[in-house]
Symmetry: C2
Subunit: 247 residues, 2 copies
């Protein structure tokens, strides 16, 4: 099967439920027993006029290394948003995440999934030196790539300048920062949180251009947090502040 | 090479720095250029009287799928702690994590890494229906398995009963809970946090035996959080409470 593929029942249901995604074809293994999720896939496909086809399990041989559960869909690539279009929309007290050179597809998938749960509106990734939104990212995200705006930019520095001019505050994480991430009040501003690459962290130039630099304090000195866990900790502190302020 | 192996420079340095681990032998690729980490490995090995050996890169062919960086060590398996021994030690305002049937080695590795950063004292895993601490877990944890007590038990229900009798409070996470995770004061008790399996969540019987059930509130309804991200959010809320209370 050519093109971008997604695999697994939940990911296919997510893609079928998302307006933005064009699905070309769905392949279902002949050996698959019927269950509620498979019936949902067939029903959604019928509603949207998308072909599904029962095929011999040999057709899935190319995907032996992934947990496809006997269901594969050929889809249009993720639709990336344009930063200028995004900035023309009104934004109030929102959160977006800028990823500086994430290389691992599982990390990107986990970040996107947690971002959607935390109500993050957009993820900004650079077009080079970063993993792109491929099938592994889509699968690890449990289909969350369809629920968030993914903005691809040529230059993160330029993107940061544009965000600042549009009233977004840039917050970077660095182990040497003085302020703790929970010392900032996130409830009354548009927050753009930069997270750095797995090993290198955030580029020096981007760190310098940030409005605030924060750290996650640790109770035991050790290496550092995995980037998706660090991002989860900060974005859910933002959620906590927003809920407790309004509640 | 037989036995449990660990791979990658950082993981080997961690194992060499840990008193508890018996290292049988270290293999270094002949083609490897010297750098600070490699020199550190050689120095630590000399100090501890552990043999290291330069071998042709063909020796690493079996490990082609992992990022071994030309360094592999054969080690004794992780030393598991006994729950009864653990409970005989004094514990005040500490945190441990009970994992109910985690299947994915990457998730377990990420959980252990974040647990060490959060000052969590122990991880309790069941001896069956759970991934064990294998080489992938050790690598994903960035060597953190050496910095925390890993307690293996035959029955999680029995372990919970023993913990309760020893003045630990059992806190479970479930999406249908009423209380939010940040509504609890964790600073004045021994907290045993149960996290459930990737798909099934926490077993009904364990949920029922818990002292509190909490949820992580979300700003957008979607699936659920990855188990390591959920664990990171709650344990770092505990860290935040402990630091802000004492600060």
């Amino acid at each position: 099967m050519d093109g971008n593929i997604i695999f697994g029942k939940n990911s296919v249901i997510e893609a079928l439920s998302s307006e933005g995604r064009e699905i070309n074809k769905i392949l279902i293994s002949k050996n698959l027993h019927s269950d509620a999720k498979l019936e949902k896939i067939k029903e959604l496909a019928r509603q949207r006029g998308i072909t599904y086809q029962f095929v011999a399990k040999e057709k899935f041989a190319d995907y032996a290394e992934v947990n496809h559960q006997g269901v594969i869909a050929q889809i249009s690539p993720v639709k990336y948003y344009d930063l200028d279009d995004f900035l023309e929309e009104p934004h109030t007290n929102e959160t977006l995440i800028i990823l500086d050179g994430i290389e691992d597809a599982h990390n990107l998938g986990a970040i996107i999934r947690t971002a959607v749960c935390a109500g993050v509106i957009a993820i900004v990734i650079p077009s080079r030196r970063s993993v792109q939104v491929n099938a592994t990212v889509e699968k690890t995200s449990a289909g969350a790539v369809n629920r968030i705006k993914i903005i691809k930019v040529n230059s993160l520095s330029n993107a940061m300048e544009k965000l600042k001019k549009s009233d977004w505050w840039i917050i970077a994480t660095d182990a040497s920062a003085e302020d703790n991430y929970y010392d900032i009040d996130y409830t009354d501003m548009n927050t753009a949180l930069i997270m750095g690459a797995e090993h290198a962290g955030i580029s020096k130039s981007l760190l310098k251009a940030s409005d605030y630099v924060i750290k996650i304090p640790m109770l035991q000195k050790f290496n550092s947090l995995n980037v998706s866990n660090a991002m989860a900790i900060i974005t859910f502190e933002i959620v906590r502040q927003k809920i407790t302020k309004n509640g």
